[in-house]
């Protein structure tokens, strides 16, 4: 396998962990903030470097230059391929910006260390392809919010129970598939368990309760960072997509559709911004999953593109809600708040994020959702139209939330609550990304298309060969 020119990935994983060590409470808040800001920025830069390097190589996959883990375990643990190359920088950027926009009022309680641990784990997870490594990292990753919940003296058991169930289910499934390749029935049981595990991890309907629990109990930043990289979907891509037979994926597709419809309908009756965010996440992730399970290039491309755009728009959503909470406390969506006069820029940004998340023309989600719908219709024909319906409902919900938060009431502002400089920076960065990738979708879609093709190729190769160890297959 081809080497990158530098140990980009490993360094990118290492930096956050080192930063976590240094983020002790002994340092003043300001120092901690800037340290974190720098470290996250560095991670982002490294991830970008890995992508750039990978692009230069023009290969399907590559690994780090001095692969230490390879040396230890005799195996390439961290790989970069078409699929995860842009995802890693995206996730790093999300962490970076979330850290950046932490308002002063929240900094004291911001879990700096945990965030960095989480960042390191996420990067590692995203660059993994080996099943057991992925499973292990998923397990460790889900511990992070648990620690935070415990620190906040919140009920953590519910969340933990769901995550445990998911992990156990996945592990058993994998074990059965890998170990008992001969027995058809056990194989099937393994597959079902794996599916259930992934499904639990995604938090799709009807296993979505932990998402609601997490968003309302953990800090919003943690919730955003745990949810928006969509690790459940990642698990499906890595664990299920290459091996699962078509009918399983189709059933999953139908379930995702049901989940999407459920979430977008529930979205319309939400009264709490946090829950609104949770359902927005659920609805968007379900849409994306539908595309993943289509197993046709158009749908898969759509889904992968949607991944990028939904992650950004969801983070943008979350960020705006966080900014509002930082200013006026938690707000409810059953009444009008009229915050526009106080924070017009945030209002505009919220609107833009909302439009992007519903695939409005000219924003990053447009082409992605068109591709997705096209793919869905190709496979499911009439029922595929329900996706369109889901998007329409999301659109209504997004504008409704905008109206409730920013309009309908003359809020007597005695002080200006305009974004601070760091928020401005993040707003501009996100807006530019949303608009530029919306108006010039070509390159982005093409990389996703290549990734989709590669995923499909791998799937066809694994499915045609008897199920053998993935690891061996890599050589």
């Amino acid at each position: 396998m081809i080497d990158l020119q530098f140990a980009w990935i490993e360094t990118a994983i290492l930096v956050p962990f080192v930063a976590a060590l240094f983020c002790s409470k002994r340092f003043p808040l300001r120092v901690r903030y800037w340290l974190s800001f720098g470290a996250a920025g560095l991670t982002f830069a490294l991830a970008l470097g890995a992508w750039w390097d990978f692009k230069q190589l023009r290969v399907f996959e590559a690994h780090d230059h001095w692969d230490v883990l390879n040396f230890l375990s005799g195996d390439f643990v961290f790989l970069i391929d078409e699929f995860n190359a842009p995802l890693i920088p995206l996730v790093c950027a999300v962490y970076w910006l979330v850290i950046l926009v932490t308002p002063t009022s929240k900094r004291a309680r911001f879990p700096w260390r945990l965030t960095f641990v989480s960042l390191g784990l996420t990067v590692a997870l995203l660059s993994c392809r080996s099943n057991w490594w992925i499973l292990g990292l998923l397990a460790v990753h889900s511990v992070v919010p648990v620690i935070e919940l415990i620190e906040r003296k919140q009920v953590w058991q519910l969340f933990a129970a769901f995550q445990c169930a998911s992990l156990i289910s996945m592990a058993t499934g994998l074990f059965l598939i890998n170990g008992q390749a001969v027995d058809e029935r056990l194989n099937l049981v393994g597959l079902v368990l794996l599916v259930i595990g992934c499904w639990l991890r995604c938090g799709c309907f009807p296993f979505h309760l932990w998402v609601l629990d997490l968003t309302s109990r953990a800090s919003l930043a943690t919730a955003i960072l745990y949810l928006t990289p969509m690790m459940g979907a990642f698990a499906i891509v890595r664990l299920l997509l290459p091996t699962a037979p078509d009918f399983v994926l189709q059933v999953l597709g139908i379930l995702s559709l049901a989940s999407a419809i459920y979430a977008s309908c529930m979205l319309l009756v939400q009264t709490c911004t946090r829950r609104f965010f949770a359902y927005m996440y659920l609805s968007n992730q379900s849409l994306l999953l539908i595309g993943l399970e289509l197993v046709n290039p158009v749908g898969l491309t759509g889904s992968l593109s949607l991944w990028m755009s939904q992650a950004t728009s969801l983070v943008a959503f979350g960020m705006t809600i966080r900014a509002i909470e930082g200013r006026v406390g938690r707000v409810l969506l059953d009444r009008f708040h009229g915050l526009y006069e106080q924070m017009p820029l945030l209002a505009g940004f919220f609107m833009l994020a909302g439009l992007a998340s519903i695939g409005f023309p000219g924003t990053s989600g447009f082409i992605a959702s068109e591709l997705l719908i096209e793919g869905v219709v190709n496979v499911y024909s009439r029922t595929g139209f329900l996706v369109v319906f889901v998007m329409a409902l999301n659109g209504i919900a997004a504008l409704k939330a905008y109206c409730r938060l920013f309009t309908g009431h003359e809020a007597p502002a005695t002080i200006s609550m305009q974004p601070r400089w760091y928020e401005r920076l993040a707003i501009v960065a996100f807006s530019v990304f949303i608009l530029v990738s919306g108006l010039l979708p070509g390159p982005g879609v093409m990389t996703r298309y290549h990734a989709a093709q590669e995923l499909l190729n791998r799937r066809t190769t694994t499915l045609t060969q008897p199920l053998i160890d993935e690891e061996n297959h890599e050589h």
């Binding site: 046709n296 082409i367 369109v388």
Partner: protein, 501 residues
């Protein structure tokens, strides 16, 4: 193609103004530059004039080169090079005998209204917001008019939708405009979903969304659809729903009078003139599909006629100027749709153009109605108001009262939609929400008890009361006003924030 360069230049000339305007307004708004009122007005006006000149040149080119249509394909915006499923998003523009007159109308009316608004909106705090939305609207109208593929048309269609909804809610410090804007947006989203479905179905069936290909050979209005009858029926029905939403045809009529919340010029341009005719324009654009299925034709005629007749009745009882004008417009839009159903395309086009101009003038001078009444009364030498329908109680037939009530309640459309579509939906999911909550609560209790009692988690009873708890915050009384709690919570957090600083 001998005229390829010329054609591209023409399209460029039409589009450059609106695009530059949107970019200018958007960037200055995002970056927070201050731009003077007069600069905005001038920029808007000149952008529209440049588009107008482009349109005139195109008309001249069409006549001069003796062609029936100009098709400009700018290439693929996105295309996937796959052999099995090919997806491409072609950017293509169609200048023909349908789009050019309509485009001319768009630019003329937008130009006039922008000039009107530059004075009318003088010193208004939302001056810039208005002009940004107005620019988006203009661009959307232009794209929807000259779009050569259904995707481009959709792009423009959506821009028109969002700018309309936000302009209805322009005075967003009051609830009524915002609620009405949301209503408009909801209607638009649902009918746009139908549009998207139609577009996808077309794609699926003909392999492309090109309007000229879909309409088969021949320039508008002589195209013949290549679709089969059933296909045409379903696609056409979806498009009819899309058009009904945008043009406020039955059963979506309820939003039109409610949309009269924005400043007068926006009401004029949207609901009197352009936006409300966009649905009819769409039907004209896809007229080959409509004419290829007799069932669909009937449907279009019925929807048009029903809209026209009911709106005519409703218009008679409206006691405020703008609602009266809204329903008067709707009457004509219904008639136009009926004409399209009957195949009178040219008539419909002329009807659209004449009607749009008339309503713009009427809506722009709607505040003059008092003076008009005085002037006309003076000229006629009598009172205009007559006691026509105030017969003796015994003489008023119940049917008359029933009819009045029917018109007074605006054909019961809103009530019907609210009560039979929206309310059950919302109530059902509220119920689901409640069940979900209690289930979650149950689970939480279970989870926390299984390990040991940690804290009373009453807070999750109401979703709003799930509050970030800082380490030392404890609130035992679950019934306390949740605002108190929010506040107390943030109090503690800031206190702590400061102490750690």
């Amino acid at each position: 193609m001998p005229y390829e360069t010329l054609d591209s230049l023409l399209v460029l000339a039409i589009l450059i103004g609106p695009i530059a305007l949107v970019t200018f307004m958007g960037i200055t708004m995002l970056a927070g530059f201050s731009v003077s009122e007069s600069a905005i007005s001038r920029f808007t006006f000149s952008a529209i004039v440049s588009g107008l000149v482009g349109t005139l040149c195109s008309i001249w080119a069409l006549v001069w080169t003796q062609r029936l249509e100009i098709v400009v394909e700018l290439g693929n915006w996105v295309s996937l090079p796959d052999e099995h499923v090919h997806f491409h998003f072609t950017v293509k523009f169609l200048l023909d005998r349908l789009s050019l007159p309509f485009l001319l109308l768009v630019f003329l009316l937008c130009g006039t209204v922008s000039s009107f608004a530059s004075k009318y909106m003088h010193r208004e705090p939302g001056f810039r917001r208005f002009h940004l939305l107005f620019a988006l609207f203009t661009l959307g109208m232009v794209l929807a008019t000259i779009g050569g593929t259904i995707e481009v048309l959709f792009f423009g269609w959506e821009l028109v939708g969002i700018s309309s909804a936000l302009l209805v809610g322009f005075y967003h410090d009051r609830k009524a405009p915002v609620n009405n804007g949301l209503r408009v947006w909801t209607t638009y989203r649902l009918s746009d979903a139908a549009f998207l479905m139609a577009a996808i179905a077309l794609h699926h069936q003909t392999g492309a969304g090109d309007l000229d290909r879909m309409a088969g050979a021949g320039a508008w209005p002589y195209g013949v659809s290549e679709l089969q009858i059933t296909q045409a029926f379903w696609v056409g029905t979806l498009l009819l729903i899309a058009a009904a939403g945008k043009s406020a045809l039955i059963p979506f009529s309820g939003w039109l009078p409610r949309a009269m919340e924005g400043p007068t010029p926006s009401s004029a341009i949207f609901y009197g003139a352009l936006s409300v005719h966009l649905g009819a324009f769409l039907l004209l654009r896809v007229s080959p599909i409509i004419s290829s299925s007799w069932l669909l034709t009937c449907l279009v005629v019925i929807v048009g006629l029903a809209t026209a007749v009911s709106a005519a009745f409703i218009a008679r009882v409206q006691a405020d100027v703008k609602s009266a004008l809204a329903y008067a417009s709707l009457t004509q839009v219904g008639l136009i749709v009926m004409e399209i159903g009957l195949g009178l395309y040219w008539l419909a086009l002329i009807h659209i153009i004449g009607h749009a101009s008339l309503r713009t003038l009427q809506l722009l001078r709607a505040p003059s109605v008092l003076r008009d009444y005085f002037n006309i009364e003076t000229a006629l030498g009598r009172r205009l108001a007559k006691r026509v329908h105030t017969l003796e109680p015994s003489h008023t037939r119940p049917a008359q009262i029933w009819l009045y009530r029917f018109a007074f309640e605006r054909a019961y459309l809103d009530v019907f939609l609210d009560r039979w579509i929206v309310a059950p939906f919302v109530n059902f999911f509220r119920q689901v929400q409640r069940i979900e909550e209690s289930f979650l609560q149950h689970l939480t209790n279970l989870a926390s008890q299984s390990v040991g009692p940690q804290q009373n988690s009453d807070e999750l009873l109401h979703d709003e009361s799930a509050i970030e708890h800082s380490g030392q915050t404890h609130f035992d009384d679950a019934g306390a006003n949740n605002k108190t709690r929010q506040f107390a919570h943030s109090h503690n957090s800031t206190e702590q924030g400061k102490t750690n600083d």
